[in-house]
């Protein structure tokens, strides 16, 4: 298992915190409501453990917006919600009185837009703090089990063939997870929680570790 030092993990958690802050600001503007941010719970875990964490307590399918990034740091970012909550978010974003079938029709398109904004805000914090340049690919909408959503082969296949061989080993996938929650003080039915997941191959984690060490060395 690949380990970050305590200080590196603390720094990464702070980057996540910054990213989630920016993402929450974007989301709060969209839902016209405050997004409550829990304390960052950062987990750097292998693929198998990540799939277990994502599916914990969830019998249903999950929905996710996935966005791959390429460049000096390569990886995949996912915004994951329980399937039942995605329609609730769409309802909050669009209209209270919209018929369920209309909401369902608009679900994919709306979540893609939301996911795109949130993930970009989130990843921008990484570009602010790390001196690494990377570009985002087009966002995709996915629905399925945690195993399907975090599938490293699929993730790497999107990025190109060069990492496929390295990615066949489950121990070489690392996932950083963080959860968040929206809340309406006057209507607690509108609560949405989800995960932001960053999926890295081992070479990408090494790049990240090297950058963290550089930043910390300068302080």
């Amino acid at each position: 298992m690949f380990l970050l030092s305590e200080l590196e993990e603390d720094a990464l958690k702070e980057f996540f915190n910054l990213g989630l802050g920016m993402a929450a600001d974007s989301l709060s503007q969209m839902v016209h409501n405050e997004v409550l941010l829990k304390l960052p719970k950062l987990k750097v875990v292998p693929y198998e453990e990540a799939t277990r964490m994502l599916s914990a307590g969830q019998d249903e399918k999950l929905v996710a917006v996935r966005q791959t990034f390429k460049g000096e740091l390569m990886g995949t970012a996912l915004l994951v919600f329980p399937g039942s909550e995605s329609l609730e978010l769409v309802r909050t974003l669009l209209s209270e009185d919209m018929a369920l079938e209309v909401l369902a029709e608009l679900e994919q398109e709306t979540l893609l837009d939301v996911g795109n904004v949130i993930l970009n805000a989130f990843l921008e914090s990484f570009t602010q703090m790390l001196r690494l340049e990377f570009e985002f690919e087009e966002a995709e909408f996915l629905r399925g089990s945690s195993r399907f959503l975090l599938d490293i082969t699929s993730h790497v296949a999107v990025q190109g063939d060069e990492l496929v061989e390295q990615a066949t080993d489950n121990d070489r996938a690392f996932v950083l997870m963080m959860d968040f929650k929206t809340s309406d003080e006057e209507n607690t039915q509108h609560t949405l929680s989800g995960f932001v997941v960053l999926l890295f191959s081992k070479p990408a984690m090494l790049t990240l570790k090297r950058e963290l060490a550089l930043i910390l060395a300068n302080l």
Binding site: A11, N17, S28, L219
Partner: protein, 120 residues
């Protein structure tokens, strides 16, 4: 000349290290007291007079706004800035309504300098 004192409260070691570096680079005549959360801050700051407090919002236990309230009770008129990644409008308005300054993370020398300029 006696150094001015600033209280830095943040559960992130990185954030505290960054602030420490900015003070070391630009404000050498300041003495910093660091705390990792509100409880730690309240214990360490007992009986100490501060010229400035930089407080994170999202921390284990008591949040930064509640800590700021306690610090204002202890030392009315203390210049307090909420230093946070939570940049939502409601958070900024909450700070503003309490007379607390707001610094958006990531913190940098410009933001620190700007906050210091507001001090008497």
């Amino acid at each position: 000349m006696e150094k001015k004192k600033a209280l830095i409260v943040d559960d992130s070691s990185l954030a505290r290290m960054m602030i420490r570096k900015f003070f070391a680079d630009g404000f050498k005549d300041w003495e910093l007291l660091e705390a990792k959360d509100a409880q730690d801050a309240l214990e360490k700051s007992e009986g100490v007079f501060f010229h400035l407090a930089l407080i994170d919002f999202n921390m284990p236990g008591m949040n930064g706004i509640d800590l700021a309230e306690k610090m204002m009770e202890r030392q009315p008129g203390l210049a307090i800035y909420l230093v946070t990644a939570n940049i939502q409008e409601r958070m900024q308005l909450r700070a503003q309504s309490m007379g607390i300054g707001f610094i958006r993370k990531p913190i940098d020398l410009v933001k620190i300098t700007s906050a210091m300029q507001g001090l008497a």
